[in-house]
Amino acid sequence: METNIKSKTLDEFKTITGTMINPAVQEWKDNGGKVIGYFCCNIPDEVMTAAGILPLRLRGTGSTGTELSDAFYSSINCSFPRHVFNMALNHEFDILDGLIVPNSCDHIRRIYDNWLRQLDIGFLEMFNLPRKVEEPQVQWYKDEVHLLVEKLEKQFGVEITEEKLKNAIKLHNENRRLLKQIYELRKVDNPPITGGQMIAVIVAGTAIPRDKYNEMLKELLEDLKGAEGIKDHRARLMVLGGILDDPEYMDILEDQGGLVVTDSICFGTRLFWTEVSEEGDPYEAIARYQIQQRPTCPRSYGDQPKRAQYLLDMIKEFKVDGVIGERLLFCDSWVVEHYMNDQDLKEAGVPFLKLDREYILSGKGQLRTRVQAFLEMLGGK
C-alpha cells in the first residue's frame, strides 16, 4: 500500500512500537521515575499517571521464542502470554517497578501466578475485574480502583488525590480525543494513513508518558492534514479481534490491496472511542467508563448486542467493504464472538473473513493468499 506521508513523528511512533523498552521509558527510568507494567484495556492506567508513575502496557514485541515459559504454560495456551512471560524470564522486564495483571482471560491471568512464583518484583497486583456490565459491577470496579490507589500510595510513598486523578483523566481523555480526530481522517475516500501506521501510533501511546504522547499526536495530526490520501486500495477493511499490536500484520493485509480504515481491537478503537467523564467522582467515572461506556471485548458478559451494534456502526461510518476477524489461537472468547459476528454480518450483507493467528507473525504466505482471495471476492461483490 502506497502512502506519501512524510512525518518524523510517525517514524518515531514506529520506533517506539518496534521495541518493548523504548527510549522514552529508559529516559523516564534514568530520571528516577517508576514504571508499572500492565495488561489489557481494562486496567485504569489513569491511576498510575495520577501517581506520577509511567504505565507501560506489556507486549511480546521482539520475542523470538517461548523456550523458558513453556515450562509453565502448555501448548494449548495462547502465544501472547507465553512470549511475554518468556521475555520476563529472560529479564527483559527487569526495568519494571511493579506489575498489575487483570483476570481478563484464562491465559493472561496466570501470568500473575507464574510471575509471583518465578520472579521478584516489588509490587505485583491482581486487578479483580467483574464479568457483567451492570450497576453492582460498576461499584465493584470502583472499589477495586480505591484499593489500587491505596496500595500504590503505600508502596511508592505517593499521594493520589482526587484532583490528581481528575487531571490524569483529562490528560488521557486528550489522548482519546486526538486519536479519534485521526480516525475521522480515515473516514474519507482516500485516508492519509494506513492501518499498519495507525497501529504503530496507538501502541506507542501505551508505552510513553501520556503528556508527551499528546504532543506527538498533535504533530502527527498536522502532518496528516497536509498529506495526500491513499488512492490505490481495492477495498476498505475493518479489523476486529483481540490483542494485535504488530503493524506488520496490518501491512500484509494492506499489501494485498485492502486498506484498513477502522477496527475494534485491543490496541484500537476500544481504547479511545469514548471518554471518561470529567465531572463528579473520578473513581465512579473511571469505573463507569470501564464497565459500561467504552466498547467492550467478549469477556464482558451480556454486552454482545452492544458490541454487534458497534461493529455495524463502524462499518457504516467508515464505509467498510469487508471485515477481517482475527483471533489468537486458543482464545475461547473470540472464537465464539466471531461465530456470532459471522451470523450478524451475514444478515447485514457484509463479507467477513475469520483468521486465526499466532502472536508472533508466522505463516505470512498463507495469510497473503487468504486475504487476496477475500479481496477478490469483495471486488466481485
Binding site: 496466570r110 507464574n114 457483567k132
Partner: protein
C-alpha cells in the same frame, strides 16, 4: 450433523425437536433401572445405583412433564446455588448434562464433528462447544428461564451469549451471578448479593416464590447430605481404597448438586454409599479382583467421552486406583441457617469457593496447589495426574505450578494433554502409553 433450519419450524415442532434427545437419554436410564429391577437379588452397590437412577429419572421426567405441559422449569448449573431453586420447587436441568453422560450419549462423536461444521473450530472446550451446538441445532429443551454460568473459564460466558443471540432462545430470560476473582469476605458478600438477585429473577420469571424458611430447611437437609459425604471420603482414605473410579466422587457430586440439592433423597443415597464403603473397609478389602498398587489423584473431571476405554484399564493393567478426583473431593462448608444473611453467605461460599472446578479454576493458582497438598497427604497418594483437558486452559497455564508443588511433596506428577469428551483428540491408546511410561519411569506399580 443436524442442520434443520429452525426458523422453518412451527412452535410445536421446535418443542418436539428440542425434547427428542432429552427423551432418549431418559429412556436409556430407564432401561438401566428396569434391568436392575429384574435382577433376582440386589447387592448393596446395586441398591446404590438403583437409588441414583431413581433420582436422575425423577429429575428428567419432571423436566419433560413441565416442557410438554407448559409449566415453568429452568436450565442451570450445579454452582448456581441449586438449593435456591429446589426450595422454590422449581424443576431444572443442567445445561452441560449431555457431554457427561458417557456411554449414554453414543452420538457424542457425531455431535463433536457437528460443532466444527457449524464454525466453532476445534480448540474451544468441547464441553462448551457441545451445548452451543445443541442450542443452535434446537436439541436442548427451551426452559422458562436460564441461570447462566460465567465462570470459571472464558468459554462459559460465551456459551450464554450465544444462547441470548440464538433466535429460538432470545426471549428466554437469562441471569448469571457475577463471580469475583478473590475469595475474601468482600467477595463472598458481593456474590451473596448476586445470589439474592438471582432469587428475585427466578420469582419474577417463573412465578415460583421463595420462602426463606423453606430455604433454611433445604440447606439443613443439604448439610446432612454433605456430612455424609465427608464421612464417605474419610473411608476412602483407607488402604486399600474401598472404591475406585466407578463409585463415589462424580456420583456423589451429581446426586448432591446436579439433579437435586438439599433433599432427604440425597442423604439417603449417601447413607447407602457410606454403607457400601464401610463393608469393604471393615473387611480390609479394596475393589474386588484388583490388587491396589498405585493410588492416584485424577485432578479433573473423568474422561466421560471414552471413560470405559481408560479407567478400567488403569485398575486391571496397573492396579492403579483413582483414590480421589476433582469432583469427589470434599471441601464443603456446612451452611449456618441461623439467619437469612448467613444462609446467603453460606450459599455464596459454597458456590463460589467450594464447588469443584469452580474452586480451582476461578481464582489464583494457589487453589490448585493447595488442593494437591491436602489430597496427597490425606489420601496417601502415589502420583498426581493432571489430564490437561484441551478446554482447561487456565489449569494448563498453572501446570508448572502444579508440577512444582508435587516436586515439593516428592510425589510424581503427570500432565497428559487430551480431550475429556473427544477420543479423537488424543487417542486412548496414546494416553495409555503415556501413563504406562510414566508409571514405569517413576517406579510405580
Amino acid at each position: 450433523m443436524d442442520n434443520t433450519d429452525l426458523s422453518t419450524l412451527g412452535r410445536k415442532e421446535v418443542l418436539e425437536k428440542s425434547l427428542t434427545r432429552y427423551r432418549k437419554e431418559r429412556d436409556w436410564f430407564q432401561m438401566f433401572l428396569d434391568a436392575l429391577s429384574m435382577m433376582p437379588e440386589l447387592s448393596e452397590e446395586d441398591i446404590l445405583q438403583q437409588k441414583m437412577l431413581t433420582i436422575l429419572l425423577e429429575s428428567k421426567q419432571t423436566v419433560l412433564d413441565c416442557a410438554e405441559n407448559n409449566k415453568p422449569f429452568i436450565a442451570g448449573y450445579f454452582c448456581n446455588a441449586p438449593e435456591v431453586f429446589h426450595a422454590m420447587d422449581l424443576p431444572w436441568y443442567m445445561l452441560m448434562e449431555t457431554p457427561f453422560l458417557a456411554a449414554s450419549a453414543p452420538y457424542l462423536a457425531d455431535d463433536i464433528k457437528g460443532t466444527e461444521e457449524i464454525g466453532l473450530g476445534s480448540d474451544l472446550c468441547t464441553a462448551i462447544r457441545l451445548p452451543i451446538y445443541y442450542i443452535e441445532t434446537g436439541q436442548m429443551p427451551i426452559p422458562s428461564a436460564v441461570l447462566g454460568l460465567i465462570y470459571p473459564c472464558d468459554g462459559a460466558p460465551m456459551l450464554h451469549q450465544v444462547m441470548m443471540h440464538n433466535k429460538a432462545w432470545k426471549d428466554v430470560p437469562v441471569y448469571a451471578a457475577d463471580p469475583p476473582y478473590t475469595s475474601d469476605e468482600r467477595a463472598i458478600d458481593y456474590f451473596a448479593d448476586e445470589l439474592k438477585r438471582m432469587a428475585e429473577f427466578l420469582q419474577k420469571h417463573t412465578g415460583h416464590s421463595l420462602d426463606m424458611k423453606r430455604l433454611a430447611q433445604v440447606c439443613e437437609d443439604g448439610n446432612k447430605t454433605y456430612s455424609k459425604w465427608q464421612e464417605y471420603n474419610e473411608l476412602r482414605r483407607a488402604v486399600p481404597c474401598p472404591h475406585g473410579w466407578s463409585i463415589g466422587g462424580p456420583q456423589a457430586f451429581a446426586v448432591s448438586q446436579c439433579f437435586v440439592a438439599g433433599d432427604p433423597k440425597c442423604t439417603d443415597w449417601f447413607e447407602q454409599l457410606v454403607k457400601c464403603a464401610e463393608i469393604r473397609v471393615n473387611a480390609g478389602e479394596g475393589i474386588p479382583g484388583v490388587k491396589e498398587r498405585i493410588r492416584y489423584f485424577w485432578f479433573d473431571i473423568m474422561p466421560y467421552g471414552w471413560i470405559f476405554e481408560l479407567m478400567p484399564w488403569l485398575e486391571e493393567e496397573w492396579g492403579a486406583i483413582l483414590t480421589m478426583d476433582m469432583f469427589g473431593n470434599y471441601p464443603y462448608t456446612l451452611i449456618d441457617t441461623s439467619s437469612e444473611e448467613k444462609i446467603w453467605k453460606g450459599l455464596a461460599k459454597r458456590n463460589l469457593i467450594d464447588a469443584p472446578m469452580i474452586r480451582q479454576a476461578r481464582g489464583t493458582a494457589e487453589n490448585f496447589s493447595n488442593d494437591i497438598r491436602r489430597i496427597v497427604k490425606d489420601y496417601k497418594i502415589d502420583c498426581v495426574i493432571w489430564p490437561g483437558h484441551m478446554g482447561h486452559k487456565d489449569g494448563s497455564a498453572a501446570g508448572g505450578i502444579m508440577r512444582q508443588t508435587c516436586r515439593e511433596l516428592d510425589v510424581p506428577f503427570l500432565q497428559i494433554g487430551l480431550d475429556l469428551f473427544d477420543r479423537a483428540y488424543t487417542n486412548p491408546d496414546e494416553v495409555k502409553d503415556k501413563i504406562s511410561k510414566f508409571f514405569t519411569s517413576m517406579g510405580l506399580g
